[in-house]
Amino acid sequence: MKLYCLSGHPTLPCNVLKFKSTTIMLDCGLDMTSALHFLPLPLVHSPRLSKLPGWVSKDGTIALEKELKECAGRVFVDSLPEFCLPERELLDLSTIDVILISNYHCMMALPYITEHPGFTGTVYATEPTLQIGRLLMEELVNFMERVPKAQSATCWKNKEIQRLLPGPLKEAVDVWTWKRCYSLQEVNSALSKVQLVGYSQKVELFGAVQVTPLSSGYSLGSSNWIIQSHYEKVAYVSGSSLLTTHPQPMDQSSLKNSDVLILTGLTQIPTANPDGMLGEFCSNLAMTIRAGGNVLIPCYPSGVIYDLLECLYQFIDSANLGSTPFYFISPVANSSLEFSQIFAEWLCQNKQSKVYLPEPPFPHAELIQTNKLKHYPSIHGDFSAEFRQPCVVFTGHPSLRFGDAVHFVELWGKSSLNTIIFTEPDFSYLDALAPYQPLAMKCVYCPIDTRLNFHQVPKLLKEVQPLHVVCPEQYTQPPPTQVHRSDLMLELQLPPMPYRRCSVLGLPFRRRYERIQLLPELAKSLVPSEIKPGISVATVSAVLQSKDNKHVLQPAPKPAPAPPSKKRKRVVEESPEVRAPKPLLSGAVPLEPSLATLHKHGITEVKVEDTPDGHILHLQAEDTLIQLEEDGTHIVCDSNESLRITLRDLVLRFLQKL
């Protein structure tokens, strides 16, 4: 059993598990932090961005003014943003049988894999994961495609040139593998390969293994997976949460007793408690609005935004924000808000029960109804007519490199009355803001990450008791920015096996058993005999048939009724297998009773010699030896066949026949 690690990002994993005869990809996350090296894509022409000076090396030898622009001491690539894909050279992607998706954030690289030539596998995901994942992909494609950029910068990727570049761009790795965003067509094609599954539904893969999604409590439809055969169980934990937010709570008990637990997707901000951050978010928002400023929240169109809106729903009145407009701008805003209301079965109990009242499970329905929350596909069109300040705007993308957020940072950046509040933990807010410097706007960082933290994981593992734990190497040491926080790492009794990008791990357990089925007619023919209390043994003669990874013992085929032939002898020779096998013997020959038996049969002159393995009985008068050993009994007598038969029968009395 092997694990191929195609992504080094702990929360955007992409691993491949080879288990029995199957090849299973676990998640397909896309690392978008590479986009931070690129210039933002403004929706409206930005004189500031277009006037940025091009980069020329200090000695003036390298001039990439067209490709690289300088802003506030940092260099950015002026091109369509590119993403860092999962490793595609480590193993042949066409051998992948299935891809298991755990949540919609972890499927963004799907088109890069499924549209790879030769891919024939199936993708398994829950319905909300598929639908919201589709929204995220559509939004991403839309953001990219509506701001076409003619040029594509590649010169800077030249190793010799990259070496000379300043700042973070110099340290970027594998830049040649970075790819532009996929197209809508590729998204549709990729998602057409998805098979929907429900929580706890058992899916057989080629009869070899069974995979089951379990609720992970992190987002709508998010799941952990159990991959098991009859004798082995692998648990894949990715993006789970024990907090009470909108999704169904995490199913912990089904993870119990696994041989290997692959642990990914822990919180990215272990020092920030989501409750505290939510409070911080609300107070900063209220403070800005009261002072007459606007608030920008760069966010994904689904997920935490539901919780934020719910929190604001309660907070609006208490903070006297009733008259402040809230805008949600995303090409998929409408679908996201509506989808969230129809996935009742995937929600927490509290929200599920609302559906029976009947009420919408999320209170944002009421915010929309009362016109407090308005949503638009983009800043163009209706929005410009409705736009009123001061206001609160939720819009993408959290990287601030594309999407409508770019426009609002440009618009509001110059006034210190306005505030930008970062709630998504995926991007460093300092890096996100780098191309907008100098910025007068206030900036607040309240990352809300509800995934498991380092205090919850040991408790979870104590509960589910896996034999081995595999995790990204980042979890086995304190965060690089807080090296003294030894509490922010995994410390288990049996240290976890760390992996990094391009690792291939041999998982530390051997398969020892395989289940074989006995057909009833064969079972009927068995004659068990009890060798120990409770243990019976029978000999089986049968034909083993292996098909579709299932093994069946069938009765041996009966010889075809011999055609009336004169050559009877020959027939007998041709099918020796039908001859009943000799019975098998079991047991041990005890020394004292066998001496007594020999004595009874008139053999009195016996010399017993102890050997390391047993005894040798020397029948002196008969000049015969009986060797009694643990795994064999030999009678050595030269020519006296009748004596041998007698002795043999005496020995056999002590043994059991099967």
């Binding site: 951050m277 403070m287 090296v483 003294h484």
Partner: protein
């Protein structure tokens, strides 16, 4: 005792003595005993017995009846003891044979009564009550009760055993006992001095034997190996060591030292506490200088061997010892500061074991194990923190390095936030991160350290750690509140330091502004309360006023006036009310507050408004007074018509201030240069004018409707004020002056007043002036009635006696029916 009670008492005694009438609730017996105990405190027991012969009869009945209820029987034993607590009472009861009969328990021990712990406890308590004079002592010794008491000291009931212990300690510490015992080494020579003459029937051999018996019993139980026996005897020693005869003390001390072995085993855990108490008790006796082994050595050993949880409180006791040797004191301090110092070192290993751990040969290896377990570590650290603060605040510990403690407390606070500790720190230290218990303790300690001198050096670091607590979005509301408290305390003491100035003028207002918008109402409320306190403190500080008016904080405060949480609204009102004193505001605050008073649905906000108006009136500020003056009569009307009684009380307080100021103003305006008493007619005119002014503000409506209010405190307050006014008016006004007159039929309180006080209402009575009205009302009697607690009837002895009688008449079926 009033006549009602004298009448009821015999009936009650009869009910109690009747075994067929069970007392359902025995708390009434306790109350009865308390009342009788009060009475014996006022008059001697003998007169009580003589005036109420039913008591003797009851006691004698009870002693002779074999079928009494255990609770009633125990009551009668306690009562007998109580009545015998005076010598005459004792003689009286003894003459009647009641005492012997009651306490000679052999008489009735055969009955099952003695099996009941209530009865045994009653017996002990009876003797304890009685033990006020030598006759009682003699009675105890003479009848061999010591043996019984010693037996009861090992009773299975904890209450009985501890009462017996107390009684034994009382006996051993009985004043003058040592004088009656033969001096050790002088054989049986008895003290020949005057004492003997006082008490002829005293006989020292009785005491000698009795005391001997106690001593032997204690010695035996100390060596018995039974932890429970040892524990009780140690308790006895601890409570009697200070007062008992010297030779008993020596014997006890030897016995105590003998139990040291028993402490070492696992069973010894329950003995450590009583042993330490004994040690402390011994240290307050002459044994401190004479004990062998010396108490100091024992204490030192204990400090080094005990686990920290027990050692720290013990060390605190050691430090408070009178004439504690320096070396011992040093060791005790090391014990207390050890856990704190360790965190300081872990937080910053470079900070060599300076301050706290320096110069101490304390074997901290012994503690390592205890300090690695999270739960015990947290409580030990909290103990260390609170004790350190106490130590520093007592000037007795000059040698203690205050700055080290401050630094260590700061380090603890940093560790709790996860912002600083070395990666080698143990698991337990890591668990301190986010531990609110330690955070609260440390902040309390920090808060109180501002009173120590020599800590100003660290103010910068201190404010930076406080700021991080105040800014932390995860701070628990209680932790946040304590951090604010600490900040306020330090700001008050170090306002001159630059760090405090920076904190005050730069960090604080943005922080408060954000906290005023917090999601949790507790945070908003605490921030507001803090801000109010701060403003009060710095109202005269020009730079504070400057930064406050530029901070935009006032707008946030205004927004909080409509907060959904009423506590927050109330705090916002107080805060704005205080700031209005130092910063003039554009908006007319009085009008805004008046709206709140008229419209707010919750009492807290309305109370706050009235209180602020009172403050404004009391500490006048020209702008405020002008705007308040406009609204004053509305405020008084709204306040006195409020549904909340506290609002009404505050309104009356406001009225009182108004009265004081009006009367004072007129007094002062006469002539500032000539200190002559104004002529009577001048004074009269002034007072009339003042009353007219008050009347103009409709103040009398407030007072009279308050007087008739159904809430007693309101009526009482109004009555007090009216009495005062009556005093002012008497002799100073013309009785026929109608400047301040009322049409009683025209107002609600007037109609009520007519109904109550003017029964023969004529038309002329409908129009009265203030003087007439005040003289018609019997304010003095009203005041007397209002001064009594509303439950004074229910709590009176008469009511108690009646209750007992009534409960005996209530058949059980009835109770069921009622239910």
């Amino acid at each position: 005792m009033d006549s009602d009670c004298t009448e009821l008492l015999p009936q009650v005694c009869a009910v109690l003595a009747d075994p067929n009438q069970a007392i359902a609730d025995d708390t009434c017996l306790e109350k009865l005993l308390d009342w009788l105990a009060d009475l014996t405190g006022q008059v001697p027991g003998i007169s009580l017995l003589e005036l109420n012969p039913c008591l003797s009869a009851f006691l004698s009945d009870m002693c002779r009846s074999g079928s009494a209820e255990p609770s009633v029987f125990a009551f009668s034993l306690k009562l007998a003891g109580l009545l015998a607590s005076s010598e005459q009472g004792f003689i009286h009861l003894k003459q009647q044979g009641i005492l012997t009969c009651a306490f000679e328990y052999q008489e009735w021990a055969g009955l099952s009564l003695w099996q009941d712990a209530t009865v045994r406890s009653g017996w002990i308590h009876g003797l304890w009550n009685m033990l006020q004079h030598w006759k009682a002592m003699h009675f105890l010794f003479e009848n061999g009760f010591i043996k019984v008491i010693l037996h009861l000291q090992l009773d299975r009931s904890l209450f009985v055993a501890s009462a017996a212990n107390r009684l034994l300690a009382g006996i051993l510490s009985f004043p003058g006992l040592s004088d009656r015992l033969p001096l050790i080494g002088e054989g049986a020579t008895i003290d020949q001095r005057g004492e003997r003459k006082v008490c002829e029937d005293c006989d020292s051999p009785v005491y000698t034997d009795g005391i001997m018996e106690i001593v032997q019993h204690v010695e035996a139980s100390l060596t018995s190996g039974n932890p429970m026996h040892i524990q009780r005897s140690l308790n006895l020693i601890a409570s009697s060591l200070a007062q008992c005869p010297p030779h008993v003390r020596d014997t006890f001390w030897q016995g105590t030292v003998g139990t040291l072995e028993a402490l070492k085993g696992n069973d010894g855990n329950s003995l450590i506490q009583p042993f330490l108490e004994t040690l402390h008790a011994a240290s307050r006796t002459p044994l401190l200088s004479s004990g062998n082994p010396s108490i100091t050595t024992l204490m030192e050993d204990m400090l080094c061997t005990l686990n920290p949880k027990v050692a720290i409180p013990f060390a605190k006791g050691v430090i408070h010892m009178e004439s504690c040797p320096q070396s011992l004191k040093k060791k005790a301090m090391a014990v207390i500061l050890q856990p704190l110092g360790r965190v300081g070192m872990l937080a910053d290993p470079k900070q060599e074991p300076s301050g706290l751990l320096k110069d101490c040969d304390f074997p901290h290896v012994a503690w390592e194990e205890d300090l690695t377990q999270t739960s015990s570590y947290v409580s030990v650290l909290c103990l260390s923190l609170t004790s350190a603060a106490e130590l520093l605040l007592e000037s007795s510990c000059e040698e203690l390095c205050v700055s080290s403690v401050v630094l260590s407390v700061i380090a603890v606070l940093k560790v709790c936030q996860g912002s600083s500790f070395s990666s080698s720190a143990g698991r337990a230290v890591r668990k301190l991160i986010g531990c609110t218990r330690v955070q609260k303790c440390a902040l309390d300690t920090l808060s109180s350290l501002n009173k120590c001198s020599g800590v100003n050096r660290y103010v910068g670091e201190l404010f930076s750690v406080l700021l991080s607590y105040l800014e932390n979005p995860d701070s628990d509301p209680t932790v946040f509140k304590k951090a604010l408290q600490a900040a306020l305390n330090w700001l008050c003491t170090c306002s001159q330091s630059s760090a405090a100035g920076l904190f005050l003028n730069q960090d604080l207002f943005p922080l408060l502004k954000k906290r005023f918008c917090d999601v949790r109402w507790e945070m908003r409320d605490s921030s507001l309360e803090f801000f109010t306190q701060l403003t009060l403190q710095f109202k005269d500080d020009a730079s504070y006023r400057g930064s406050l008016s530029n901070s935009g904080l006032i707008d946030s405060l205004m927004a909080l006036l409509t907060d959904p949480e009423s506590y927050v609204r109330a705090s916002a009102i107080s805060a704005l009310g205080q700031t209005a004193h130092i910063i003039s505001q554009e908006e007319d605050l009085s009008a805004r507050f008046l709206d709140i008073l008229a419209q707010d649905t919750e009492g807290f906000a309305r109370r706050a408004v009235i209180k602020i108006f009172s403050i404004w009136l009391k500490h006048p500020n020209q702008d405020l007074c002008k705007s308040l003056e406009k609204h004053l009569s509305t405020v008084l009307r709204l306040g006195s018509n409020d549904l909340d009684w506290e609002v009404k009380i505050h309104t009356l307080e406001l009225a009182q201030i108004l009265i004081d100021q009006t009367l004072e103003d007129f007094g002062r305006s006469s002539c500032p240069y000539v200190s002559v008493i104004p002529a009577p007619h001048v004074k009269r005119a002034e007072i009339t004018a003042a009353f007219h002014n008050l009347h103009h503000h409709k103040l009398f409506d407030v007072l009279f409707s308050g007087l008739l209010d159904c809430d007693r405190p309101v009526a009482r307050k109004a009555c007090t004020i009216l009495l005062y006014l009556k005093g002012v008016l008497t002799g100073n006004t013309d009785t026929s002056d109608n400047t301040v007159a009322f049409d009683l039929q025209g107002c609600r309180w007037g109609q009520e007043m007519v109904k109550r006080c003017f029964s023969a209402a004529s038309d002329s009575a409908m129009h009265v002036n203030i003087v007439e009205l005040l003289s018609t009302l019997d304010l003095e009697e009203m005041k007397q009635a209002l001064d009594q607690r509303s439950d004074h009837l229910e709590n009176s002895p008469r009511s108690l006696l009646q209750d007992i009688l009534a409960s005996s008449h209530t058949p059980e079926d009835n109770i069921v029916d009622c239910y």
